[in-house]
């Protein structure tokens, strides 16, 4: 006991402040505090507020009335909800095409010829322009009277197809528009990933006689795993929050056939005719649960990776 106090008086002055004494453990929290604060205020708390609002009948302006799970009950047999859910699933599946497409464009561009930087930036271009512009460009592309799309399929004797006005094609038409920038995004992820591919392994594989598809599948793609993971994450999340393209291209139509959950939520709660905050919040909760499923999978696999290291 006496030695300890002696040691302290000998090596450290007694009058160190509380902060100085705890510097190592406190500083990280101080640095994180602004981020934590904003994350709480703008993400975490609103999630719980959405849960709460989904139990009310509320027009967003007047007093609200507690109605329990009635919003969810109504959602259960709302055909528009199932249309949106079905479209969300189509989006999720088809949007993943951006990953292989991005990979192949990246492989194609991963060479050193004159002007390759220019070609790369041209391929990256659709990701740089706003989604609203992408939507408008594709709306004109699909236009049944003057659109390029119908002119092209006219050459092979097909059409005219009113892509955005026909309930059977509309969702696919919008997804095609969405794939354009998303492919560019995946491409850039893979291009950076390809820089990290170990040339010695390629060399070794080549000596062992690997080439073509086998080379790609067994040697290159495994080394691109981190890039694939990120591409997967951004694509899934991009598909689930697809909103701007739908809003610009079809406004959810024709007769609501191109809606997805996020758009439907906007429509019932916030659009011109929407005054049902509670119902919108209930849709948001369902969307959140779907997203949570993917997010927890991503977090879990990230956690596994970190521990495996």
């Amino acid at each position: 006991m006496s030695t300890a106090s002696l040691a302290r008086s000998e090596y450290a002055p007694e009058n160190r402040s509380w902060y100085k004494r705890n510097e190592i453990s406190v500083t990280p929290w101080l640095f994180m505090a602004p981020a934590i604060l904003f994350f709480l205020v703008y993400v975490i708390i609103p999630i719980f507020q959405s849960f709460e609002i989904s139990l009310f009948s509320w027009d967003g302006l007047g007093p609200r009335e507690y109605i329990g799970t009635e919003n969810y009950v109504e959602l259960w047999d709302d055909p528009a909800f199932y249309t949106s859910l079905k479209n969300n699933v189509i989006w999720l599946i088809l949007y993943l095409l951006a990953i292989p497409a991005g990979l192949f464009i990246a492989l194609f561009l991963n060479q050193t010829v004159f002007g390759i930087r220019l070609y790369k930036s041209l391929f990256f271009f659709p990701f740089v322009i706003s989604q609203v512009v992408v939507g408008l460009v594709f709306t004109w592309f699909y236009d049944p009277t003057f659109g390029l799309f119908n002119t092209i399929i006219g050459w092979v004797g097909l059409g005219p197809i009113n892509v955005l006005g026909d309930p059977t094609y509309v969702t696919y038409g919008i997804i095609a528009a969405g794939l354009w920038p998303q492919t560019a995004y995946c491409m850039i992820l893979y291009l950076t990933g390809l820089n990290a591919v170990d040339p010695e392994q390629i060399e070794a594989a080549r000596l062992d006689g690997a080439k073509g598809w086998k080379m790609l599948w067994y040697v290159v793609v495994p080394q691109l795993k981190p890039a694939t993971f990120i591409a997967f994450v951004v694509t899934i999340i991009g598909a689930l929050r697809s909103f701007d393209l739908i809003s610009v291209m079809t406004n959810g139509g024709p007769f609501g056939e191109s809606r997805v959950l996020s758009f439907y939520m906007f429509e019932v709660a916030l659009s011109e005719y929407g005054f049902r905050m509670g119902y919108g919040a209930a849709i948001a909760v369902v969307l959140f649960i779907i997203m949570l499923f993917f997010i927890s999978y991503f977090l879990y696999s990230m956690y596994k990776d970190e521990r495996g290291r």
């Binding site: 009277t145 009113n162 006005g165 005719y273 929407g274």
Partner: protein, 418 residues
């Protein structure tokens, strides 16, 4: 030095003169006044800027700040700015469209303006501005709906303006046979289809049924609604409407009329301006009243009213009230609506007789049995949305009619239950 003195003396004199002018006007308005407008189309925008400049000149101590918001965006932004950052004056629409803001106390009760002379002058729209026995705004303009048609093509085919349903269909058959479509329409934003439903319903079942239906008192599976749909279907089956209308907005549907692929457009009078801009002249474009369908049903028309309101959170309600009065006055109504190409609400104003569409509309509306606002202004917002989506689906898949009406009926049961 001298010039500065001179200038300041001049300024003093002019401000004194202006001040006395303002005093003569009653009392002086001061402070700031914020006006939010949804008049983003070129003609309405210029009109309002002119009116505001005029008002500004009359009240030199009042600082007016005008914000013009895109017409479609305004419809979703209004609830945000009414609650968070209310202006002193805001545009909106009459009828049920103002109910959400009235029932939550976001619009100021302006019944005090609806007294004396002004009330008499605006009497025709009083009902549309009244909720719970009070008035919540002041109308500045209204306009007729009707069929805008290509007179030159009608002449070429030897058609005359139809006055009843049989003639309308006979005309349409000839137009279709000539390789054209009878009507252009763009249903991407849904409400254009509601125009068709409203007119068919007004002519098939009358104004009273329209009001009862939009107020939720009649069933959507009623035989009378089915009759309306059956009439509509006759046109659809005939191929009367342009193809692919779900892909177009109302503006994008105009070229079909202009290049003669379609011969008529059921629309509000605001369409005349863009149609003429697209290249049609007064000789080519004309207007007729939607023809009679059921014998004995008095002719009622759609005449949506555009209005000005004072948010209850307004800071300068005195100036706002003065502005509303100013806009509603006969002279301002006359000049304003002449440049809008619409109809003045004040019965002491006059219609621009050079504008044949305004003139025709004015005559038609004066003879009307009753005036409906429009489907999405007479019905509550949710019902309007579901209903218009149903109409659009019906225009593409008329076979689904029973299913659509059942869906609307289910929505009605839910929406009006409170």
């Amino acid at each position: 030095m001298r010039s500065i003195l001179k200038a300041s003396a001049m300024a003093l004199v002019t401000s004194a003169a202006l001040a006395t002018g303002a005093f003569a006007d009653g009392h002086q308005l001061s402070g700031e006044m914020k006006i939010f407008l949804d008049t983003s189309n070129p003609a309405p925008r210029a009109t309002f800027e002119g009116v505001i400049a005029q008002f500004d000149e009359m009240h030199p101590n009042l600082k007016i700040e005008t914000t013009i918001i895109d017409r479609e965006a305004y419809k979703t932004q209004i609830r945000n700015f009414l609650t968070a950052n209310p202006p002193d004056v805001a545009t909106w629409y009459a009828g049920n469209r103002m109910l959400p803001y009235v029932s939550t106390g976001l619009f100021d009760d302006v019944s005090d303006l609806w007294t004396g002379e002004l009330a008499e002058e605006l009497a025709s729209t009083k009902a549309a501005m009244t909720i719970d026995g009070k008035q919540w705004g002041v109308p500045y303009s209204y306009y007729q709906w009707g069929v805008y048609y290509r007179k030159d093509i009608f002449d070429e085919l030897g058609l005359s303006v139809p006055t009843n349903w049989e003639e309308e269909k006979a005309n349409c058959q000839k137009i279709v046979d000539s390789g054209r479509k009878c009507y252009t329409i763009g249903t991407k934003f849904l409400w254009t289809a509601a125009g068709w439903f409203d007119y068919l319903n007004l002519r098939t079942n009358g104004y009273e049924f329209h009001i009862a239906l939009t107020a939720g008192q009649e069933s959507w599976t009623d035989d009378r609604v089915k009759k309306t749909m059956a009439n509509w279907r006759e046109l659809i089956d005939m191929g009367a409407f342009i193809d692919d209308h779900t892909a177009y907005s109302w503006q994008e549907a105009i070229p079909f009329l202009v290049d003669g692929q379609a011969t008529a457009y059921l629309m509000g009078n605001f369409a005349v301006d863009p149609i003429k801009d697209a290249g049609l002249t007064d000789d080519q474009l004309d207007f007729y009243q939607f023809p009679l369908i059921t014998e004995g049903i008095p002719m009622s028309e759609e005449a949506p009213t555009d209005t000005l309101h004072i948010p209850s959170g307004a800071a300068n309600k005195e100036a706002a009230r003065a502005f509303l009065k100013f806009v509603a006055s006969p002279e301002v109504q006359t000049s304003m609506n002449a440049s809008l190409g619409q109809l003045p609400v004040n019965n002491k104003s006059s219609v621009n007789t050079d504008d044949k569409f305004a003139k025709a509309g004015f005559e038609m509306l004066n003879k009307a049995h009753a005036l409906a606002q429009f489907f999405d202004r007479d019905a509550p917002a949710e019902m309007a949305k579901v209903g218009m989506e149903g109409f659009q689906e019906f225009m593409v898949r008329p076979d689904n009619v029973d299913q659509i009406l059942q869906r609307l009926e289910k929505a009605r049961e839910r929406i009006y239950k409170n």
